[in-house]
Symmetry: C2
Subunit: 205 residues, 2 copies
């Protein structure tokens, strides 16, 4: 059975309609720590609040005492704690919003954490401009003609083959992180096949 959560990370609160819609229609909003302040301002209710709670004032701590889950693990960041909580609570599909639009190093770190989550759960990250999807096996993507697509290959020796992208890859490695950027879909779907991996696929909205 599909059990879907939306994680609100502690970056900039979503402004684009697509991540906003995910958030507003979700029955299970999982809040990273300080993001609860922004969620309250938006008039939305959290299903759970995860983090070390350093940044929560005592009024909020009391108000949400039944749904606050405290983790003191210093080895993972708030986003990872929230993902792990979702997995432990049997959510099998996760959309992450609010993870960008703030410190650039956090944004890059969060994007490159996605493959680690993808080993355990279906996950995507929705930003103000597009969607990151980490994949651990070959996959077809829904698309539209001329959709801008970028492929990131953290393990540089991964052999990648694409179908229906303008600049085709055939058993090719992306040795540099920028080499798979600026591609484009040729129709209403495209396919990424690979040996090794994982990969991170970005699709502009």
């Amino acid at each position: 059975m599909q059990k879907k959560a939306v994680i609100l990370a502690n970056g900039a609160f979503p402004t684009h309609e697509i991540p906003l819609k995910e958030l507003k229609e979700s029955k299970h909003i999982i809040c990273c720590d300080g993001a609860i302040n922004k969620l309250e301002k938006a008039g939305l209710e959290p299903f759970a609040i995860i983090g070390d709670l350093d940044s929560l004032d005592s009024e909020l701590k009391w108000k949400y005492r039944d749904i606050i889950y405290h983790f003191s693990n210093q080895d993972t960041n708030d986003l990872t704690k929230a993902v792990e909580w979702c997995i432990a609570n049997k959510f099998n599909e996760i959309a992450i919003v609010g993870a960008t639009g703030n410190r650039d190093d956090h944004m890059i770190g969060n994007v490159f954490l996605l493959p680690q989550y993808a080993k355990k759960v279906r996950v995507k990250m929705l930003t103000s401009y597009g969607m990151f999807t980490p994949i651990v096996r070959s996959k077809n993507f829904e698309s539209y003609t001329r959709q801008q697509v970028s492929i990131f290959s953290p393990n540089r020796d991964t052999l990648i083959t694409t179908a229906n992208l303008r600049y085709a890859l055939t058993n090719q490695q992306l040795e540099m992180m920028w080499q798979g950027t600026l591609n484009e879909s040729m129709g209403d779907s495209f396919r990424i096949e690979f040996e090794g991996g994982p990969l991170i696929i970005y699709q502009e909205y």
Copy 2:
């Protein structure tokens, strides 16, 4: 002799005072293609305009006809063309502004292009939140106590040692792109030593 250029990339026009100051005080603003529209709105003068000029209207093409440099190389992006133009014209220090705050895949691609430039020229990228500096050899950084610092290691086998950062590395590899994020300076300088490389250092303002 120091000859410094500021490249205005075609992302979001800078709003933070630090990249804005770089831009306003520069005698050599090198504009990536469509960014000229934003530079004009800000009342600033370009020293050169680089790109394939697809997005320039004919009035601008005429106005700046003497300083427009056209490249039709499809294998590099506009930012790389601008950097190469600077190197060819004997600039030996480059600050890149306006390269973030727009499509997330462009932002990541641009950040991971920096080491390629760093082999040939001193370069840094200034965003709304901090500064990326690619390094090809060990380096001391000016800092301040509690400055947030992240280290990105595109070649995962690079052995890194840090001095005066809160979470010290000693001949360690960063196998995952997020592993070097969320560090912190302990004073008015820190040092990054490494074998292999290159690395990209992020310092929050």
